[in-house]
Amino acid sequence: MSLRLKLLLLGLLTLVLPWAGCRYAREMESALREGEQTSLQSVAETLATSLEGRLDLLYRAPQGGDSQDAAALLESGPYDLKPVALTAAPLVDGYSEDWPRDAAAWAWYEKDAAHRFGVLTGVYERVLYLLLEVRDEHPVFDAAGASPLDARATGDRVWLGFQDPQGGERQVFLAATGPGAITARYIESGEYGQQLAQLEPRIRGVWQLSPGGYRLELRVPLSMLGAGFGVLIDDRDVRGGAPLSYGSLHPDDLRTLGHLIVAAPELTGYLAQFSQPGLKLAVATPGGQVLARVDELKRVAELAPAPPLIARLYRRFVDQPGAQPPIEARVSVYDREHRTVIGTLEVTQTPDRWLRLRDRALTRMLNFTLATSIVVVLAMFAFAVWLALRLSRLRQASESALTRAGLIASFPDTEARDELGDVARSFSRLLGRLNEYTGYLRTLAGKLAHEIRTPLTIVRSSLENLEAEQVPSSARAYLERARQGSERLNAILLAMGAATRVEEAIGGAERSRFDLVPLIESAVAAYRGAFTERRFAAELPPGPVMMDGAPDLIVQMLDKLIDNAVDFSPVGSSITVRLRLAAPEAVLEVDNLGPPLPSEAGRLFESLWQSRGDGNGRPHFGLGLYIVRLIAEFHGGSASASNLPDGSGARFSIRLALPA
């Protein structure tokens, strides 16, 4: 992992700040929620107090009864109907899809297992809606075209009995000759005592057949109704048969047995005074039947401007999955004596209210912490890049400081006062010492040769003097051996000093412009004469190859290469000297058959690398190829060695810079 990446990851740790911020926002949110809950509770209690004992405000005054008598009103009998407060007017079509699905809101009446019906009542905008679900194995319609009063033509019939606002009992019936729209009728005595079925156009509905019976959906304006209300079914199995009557009307005189417990008309208006956007107020009977509600939950947009996009983005990270539940407060409304519960008040508040408060704080905090993180990460990244740059510079400098020959190139000085600067400086010092040491090593051979020369001269001159003396012939052999030994020692000294002399020669070399081709031709011709046990081939370009340099040195370099090739190639083999142009360089190659190069071929060109003797006792100090390299470098080139492509031998390549 690079330093850059590491520091970048370290910088990413600052993201802990926004994370902690989110945690804090959640804490804050629950505190806010608690506070909101408390205040909502107190709002609910205040409102409940204002409703205390106001039975008249909660319920329509029952017929003839004492509106203050809460107990009487609330001890509802089995025939009382408690319409639900509808949130929208149901479409009167005989289907129950648009009614609230609330099984508890149904009132059921039954004669026996086969005969029962349910009533669902609801109020919306001063209109009472009824949904009747009648179980009847044999639904029978009236005969088409007959008078509804014709007993022989009569089928199933539904009676509604109710008190009018004045307290008078009234009855209407609903009869149908087939599924479809129906209008209620009432029976009136005519001028001559005959019975007439008059239409009551205010009570209308739809009659539909349903599996196991039939269904009626009706609408009745509340303005027609007083307190009493009931439904009675005349169930006939055959047209004109005897009816089976049951329901919440007295089966004999169709008197109402129960009441319709409905909110007072003023209740909604009263609640509306307290309504606020994002708030829902609902008043229900002690049994839980909603009497009136004012719902402003959807009007949250007025609370505060819609949160900006970024806040919504943040909210996704902060909020636990799932919708925020609204907060609710439920209090009971008591009668004046504070003994009996006359209703319940439920106040609901949308969570948006405090969520938006929280969002505002959250957005600011997250913006700030994220900006901090970004700045820190960028700064760390920049720092890392800078560090990496310095490190890679240091690395490059250290890599290029030591040339392959062990020479120390310049190492850049640094002024940096930090640890990296210290490293660079100590590296520089180290290299300096190393340089001194390699310098010492490099000159060691030459110095050693010089130091040995004086004692060697003593030995040799003594031996020469000794030869002039009268030496017994038995001692001659030893004298000769000593002489040979000293000659060899002398040759070694010459070889050891050779590199130094080449360096000197290079230092004093004069450059001239010359053609490489005839020079190599002439040299190869000379090698043919000198090394008769090898064959020499020269591959030269047709035209002249002009270069600037010292021809003597080039020949000396070629001498060393040929010496090397001859040493390693078998007798009778061919040595190829090749010159080719590879602008802007000329490449001189010497190929010889023989063993492959050692694995450290790159070090072949180092001073004293290869120390071996050939069979002739000529000393080798591996200086030949070192001299080759020195001369190649003097000519702006380089020396390299490789095995021949087919592995049959070695190739030494010298690149020489050509004049521009």
Partner: protein
């Protein structure tokens, strides 16, 4: 009367060996270990030939100084530098101070004797009137083998003994390539390639001093040198 050879050399063993060798050849030999000793002796009596080491006891360049002083005393006295130092710079400095030859100590005693003899021959020849028989002429080049003196277009070119012998070996058979070994044999010296090259370079430069268009010594790459007329 025996010719007197002075050996100035701080290494006693070498000094004595050389002295013995020269004595065997029939020369009178005086040896000195340092410059002071040598100069006080030379002030009293000049030797016929001086063999000087460059570094003398505590004077690393004492031989050069001695050579300068000696040359001031006598412009014709043969002086040979014999030293363990074989750098090009030392050779150039020594020859510039007027030494007749610059030799390294790996030279054998036999070769050294040959040189000493040759230098004495030259001294003798310079004393005698010029003899036509010992002169080699090749175009503008005149080599007086007795005096070991070279002239180019009548101008004297001062060559060291080694250089003279190299020129002589080349000019004797113009057009023939002389390889390094042949040149070394002719000059009674064992030298490596670079030293031969620098000798040839010096020869060219000296002749070019007399004639800038001098081009008679040609390099035959890989083989050696030849004299071109």
């Amino acid at each position: 009367m025996k010719r007197l050879i002075a050996i100035v050399e701080d290494e006693a063993a070498i000094r004595d060996n050389y002295a013995a060798a020269f004595a065997r050849e029939g020369y009178a030999v005086r040896t000195y270990a340092n410059r002071t000793q040598a100069m006080s002796a030379f002030a009293a009596r000049l030797p016929d030939l001086a063999v000087i080491d460059i570094s003398l006891e505590d004077e690393p360049e004492g031989g050069f100084e001695l050579c300068r002083q000696l040359r001031a005393l006598s412009p014709v006295l043969p002086i040979i530098f014999l030293t363990a130092r074989d750098s090009e710079l030392d050779a150039v400095s020594g020859l510039r101070l007027g030494a007749d030859d610059f030799l390294t100590k790996d030279l054998s005693l036999a070769h050294l004797s040959a040189r000493v003899n040759a230098l004495f021959r030259r001294v003798d020849a310079l004393r005698k009137p010029e003899q036509a028989g010992d002169v080699l002429r090749r175009g503008p080049l005149t080599l007086d083998t007795e005096r070991m003196q070279a002239q180019w277009d009548g101008k004297v070119v001062l060559l060291s003994l080694t250089e003279f012998w190299i020129v002589h070996a080349l000019a004797r058979h113009p057009g023939h390539v002389r390889n390094r070994q042949q040149l070394m044999d002719a000059a009674n010296v064992v030298l490596d390639d670079n030293t031969i090259t620098s000798h040839v370079k010096r020869i060219r430069r000296k002749f070019q001093g007399a004639d800038p268009r001098f081009d008679a010594v040609q390099t035959v790459y890989g083989m050696g040198y030849r004299w071109v007329e």
